[in-house]
Amino acid sequence: MAPAIMLAADAPKLSSANTGFMLIASALVLLMTPGLAFFYGGMVRVKSTLNMLMMSFISMGIVTILWVLYGFSMSFGTDHGSLIGWTSDFVGWTGIGKTDLWPGYTIPVFVFAVFQMMFAIITPALISGALADRVKFSAWTLFVVLWVTIVYFPVAHWVWGTGGWAFELGVIDFAGGTAVHINAGAAALGVILVIGKRVGFKKDPMRPHSLPLVMLGSGLLWFGWFGFNAGSWLGNDDGVGPLMFVNTQIATAAAMLAWLGYEKIRHGACTTLGAASGAVAGLVAITPSGGAVTPLGAIAVGAIAGVACAAAVGLKFRFGYDDSLDVVGVHMVGGILGSLLIGFFASGKGQSTATGVFYGDHSFTQLWKQCAGVGGVLVYSLVVSAVLAFLLDKTIGMRVTQDEEVSGIDRAEHAETAYDFSGAGGGVLGSAVSAPAGGKQPENQDDKKSGKQTKKVDA
């Protein structure tokens, strides 16, 4: 997102180069949500893998439709009071022609709208990592509907929409440090403070059930993030997108190394989960800042984020909030860092001439702007998300029963289990033993409304 600096041309023409690039970038960002699903899905215990996947995939369904219906209008329609947008042509996308260009840019409105759609999809999906193992799928679905409507669409308008307060203030958020990562991280914190901990939190190790799946997720995230970051400049006419691309790679590498180094010193081993988390921490931190810093600055941003997030994920045990897969520790902390570090490392030679404390006239101006952006989004998202979760919990209930949680949410909510390897070692054991793997735990049947499909039960 680069609304602050528009391309010079008075009446830009459709550029097939930028349009093609942005379509691919949009596809890359779309891929991040499955990537996130695998990243999270691999990290939970085997019994809640599918629920984790589904929390991300359902966001691809819900948010797409809402974005078409009214989300795009709320985020990028004409500003009302610096708080929200609305343009009736954007409702249902009925008034958008296939060759209408996004004002000031060389790409069709449809391309801008679909690129931004992918951001709206992944943001609620990010939250789900904190809610592992314990949230009813129906409650999650409803939460996503409400949350994007009340939180994401307005916040995206604040940060990226012409007229939005943070945008007009000059807060820099290249690709979503505040609107996406702080927003999701703060929301996650708000929700988990309301819904509470998993059974066994702090007592059971709850280790990742499949680290290759985690690595697949982080690989796809890293890959897709290039679209997320470099695509946010909406075109490649002036070298800013490439700078962002370069910095994305550099900060991610630096953060991965920093996290592994921290782990090695503190716990004696470089873990795979550490590598994956470190990379994501770097990606998060460079997201707001990558257009503003130099490559060496990107090393600094990445390294700081890597160490800080590695330290931050331990806090949940100290303070006792069950941020299950470290959404707060990585996305909120990483997003805050990335946003604030702009105030220090902005070189004035990237997306704009604004400079941070270490450059230019060493002023704190940009830093205060960044603080305002960070603070505004963080507080709004945390409070509203907590209230939302509270209301949902009091009405339809947010959590599955303890029995369901302990036996595995996959069976309870999705009537499936992630894997069925029985018979892997031989013959048709599969067909016989596989069944129960997917079966309803008979012992839960009593206290379950979805017991419909179990006609006659035994053990």
Binding site: V406, S407, A415, E416, A432, V433, A435, P436, A437, G438, G439, K440, Q441, P442, E443, D446, Q453, T454, K455, K456, V457, D458, A459
Partner: protein, 112 residues
């Protein structure tokens, strides 16, 4: 000595471990298993088709114990494993002729 085998619901393992521990039992061996009992079979629908499912996941716990402790231990396990619902499982014991601790070669009760 006796070998007590218990085939129980997987999520009772923690309770059983605690019960044994407070009883002073030093070791146990666990295997994943599946099985069915009296009212075998329930029906389930998946992707538009209906199936009978009989084998249900269980865990199988083995504990070697001295003859005198066996009865009490069985009681302790049964109590810890019980939920009162079908599928709670079985516990049985068989006589053991000899037992050896591999590390030291000790025999009999000393090996436990």
């Amino acid at each position: 000595m006796k070998l007590i085998t218990a085939v129980v619901k997987p999520y009772r393992l923690d309770e059983i471990k605690e019960a044994l521990q407070s009883f002073g039992v030093h070791g146990l061996t666990v295997t994943e298993a599946s099985g069915y009992g009296r009212q075998r079979g329930h029906t389930e629908v998946y992707r538009g088709a209906e199936y009978t499912v009989d084998l249900v996941p269980k865990i199988r716990i083995e504990v070697l114990t001295e003859d005198d402790d066996a009865e009490e231990l069985i009681e302790a396990i049964v109590k810890a494993a019980r939920t009162g619902k079908i599928g709670d499982g079985k516990v049985w014991s068989v006589p053991v002729e000899t037992a050896v601790r591999v590390r030291t070669g000790e025999r009999g009760p000393d090996a436990l």
